[in-house]
Symmetry: C2
Subunit: 338 residues, 2 copies
């Protein structure tokens, strides 16, 4: 049925109008689903559009309409499954709401992050979601606000106000994990942490608080820091054991750090949950099938992404809203590792 377009160029609403014998205004109205057009006319227009293989030109519409159905999201590290899960939850909600998503990966690189944000601005994004790269200046949200683009910051904070935020209750989560280990009888518990600019300080504070509740002194020798990835977790666990700290358990900064620690334990012929106890943070999909399955603090990464999308959508709908935040309530998931 597809008929060749007269000139070979893609058909526009003008062609559709001619085909359906109406004016182009009518076509435009039909395309927008306006109730002002009687169903019979609308049907004729839609049939004509289908016959010509017409494709709506969203950029033209947006230029005229001064709207945008595009949302930009820039993520710092997709190599961490936590962020991949957050992104999927985010994308899903945004697509359901009729948006299309511009995605960028900063690789924790500030220059790249800037480039990405700037190009999304040129693309006229209706909103931006940012998981800030390490070292992102706290003034960034203000800058984006000055651009007139709604912004939701996720996971990592950037100062304590001036932007909508979706993340997790970090101190509370780490305290949960620590209390669990304490309850299992451990007294020398390591903290395999992250680096400055991440949620390291908050999670460490939760660990400390749980210790204090039990009247157990804080021992800095039990706290390690590294880039919170598999290699970092691997190295920190080895350092913890090599240091002779007498640790029998460790709270890990996040799940992938714990995976690295699991691997280091295995290489030493030790089995988590038996010879040493380990907890993670995030509850990524992989945690359930780690070897052994990882006990962790569940903050539902996908849901976190979906909530971030919801905050942004609400802000776009009503820019006057008060500051919005979402903090995932942590829940301990016990498996075999500790």
């Amino acid at each position: 049925m597809a008929r060749a377009v007269p000139s070979g160029a893609p058909p526009t609403i003008l062609h559709v109008a001619a085909e359906a014998q109406v004016s182009k205004s009518t076509v435009s109205l039909v395309l927008q689903g306006s109730p002002r057009i009687p169903e019979a006319t609308a049907e004729r227009v839609r049939a004509a559009a289908a016959r010509l293989g017409y494709v709506y030109n969203r950029r033209a519409a947006e230029l005229r309409h001064k709207a945008s159905n595009t949302i930009g999201v820039v993520i710092n590290d997709l190599m961490n499954p936590f962020f991949a899960e957050v992104l999927v939850g985010l994308e899903n909600r945004l697509v359901e709401a009729g948006y299309t998503v511009l995605m960028g990966h900063s690789h924790e690189n500030l220059a790249r992050q800037d480039q990405l944000l700037r190009s999304m601005r040129e693309q006229n994004a209706a909103g931006l979601v940012l998981c800030p790269a390490l070292g992102t200046p706290a003034a960034l949200p203000r800058q984006v606000k000055a651009w007139g683009i709604p912004l939701t910051v996720i996971v990592r904070t950037l100062g304590s106000s001036g932007y909508d935020f979706a993340g997790s209750a970090n101190a509370e989560g780490a305290a949960l994990a620590t209390r669990h280990l304490l309850g299992a009888g451990h007294r020398r518990i390591g903290f395999l942490g992250g680096v400055a600019g991440t949620m390291h300080a908050e999670r460490l504070a939760g660990y400390r608080q749980a210790l204090e509740e039990r009247g157990i002194g804080f021992d800095a020798a039990l706290v390690l820091q590294a880039h919170p990835n598999r290699q970092g977790g691997h190295d920190m666990l080895n350092a913890l054991l090599d240091r002779g700290t007498g640790a029998t358990a460790a709270v890990c900064y996040n799940d992938i750090t714990a995976f690295g620690a699991l691997s280091a334990l295995g290489a030493r012929g030790l089995r988590a949950g038996h010879d040493f106890a380990l907890t993670g943070f995030d509850n990524v999909l992989d945690a359930a099938h780690a070897n052994p399955p990882l006990s962790t603090v569940d903050i539902r990464p996908g849901e976190l992404g979906a909530q971030a999308a919801a905050l942004l959508l609400a802000r776009i709908a009503d820019p006057g809203l008060a500051r919005q935040t979402y903090y995932a309530a942590p829940r301990l998931v016990l498996r075999q590792s500790g």
Copy 2:
């Protein structure tokens, strides 16, 4: 220094032209970096633009210019780190080339995939890269071609011609892994496979071929199938052992399947590389820090993504090109699991 825009509306090239005392054509030319404008004038224009906080409106430019600097990529399953790594490689190359990427996640859902592709078309994407959801009709590339949009298919094939493709040499890779296990003395080797529509058949063929080279009969009881994820790998390994097939090793469809198998082994008190040998396929980042570290077939996921981007960019530059393909050459990476 930022000066308020007269009317409160964002400045356009007209404002910049007025500010710099030139015509808007000149501004446009300067913005495009045309050599026709003398440096002194260009500098004046750039200064004026900066003063006004001017932002280039790419949609308007593209509408007029009939170009697009946007590329759509739709991925079937970001929960598999393999695809996340491919996406990162892809995105990186595309951004370096000056494009901005529209990203969609199909979740292996055909209707969603269609919706995503359609909306990227409306956004006027300059090109598309697709990792097809399970069950994608082989006619899809033809359809996209009819839209006039360059397409690169990745990882999974869709018929054997009519589109550019970036993937891996699957039979060869699986044969490599199988030969290694054979060389280590294993004779009863399981194949923990995927499902139809994935690369299952190709990888199984490689496994079979390696067996035949050694004159070892193919035993269907050693071949299992499941969704190629952690749970699938976990279940297949248990089934393989419960079946009493006498298997002492297994070639896994991909790395995450192997991770699931590693977990199942651990739950049985068995250690891969010692009590049972296991190989993966992909060499995702996690493989190096699995417990124990996973021997696998490296197909360099990030590079695969970058190559896919290169194919698409070449096709955009010259639509007349002959069919292009990239098959990652598999390389065996030996670690502790087998």
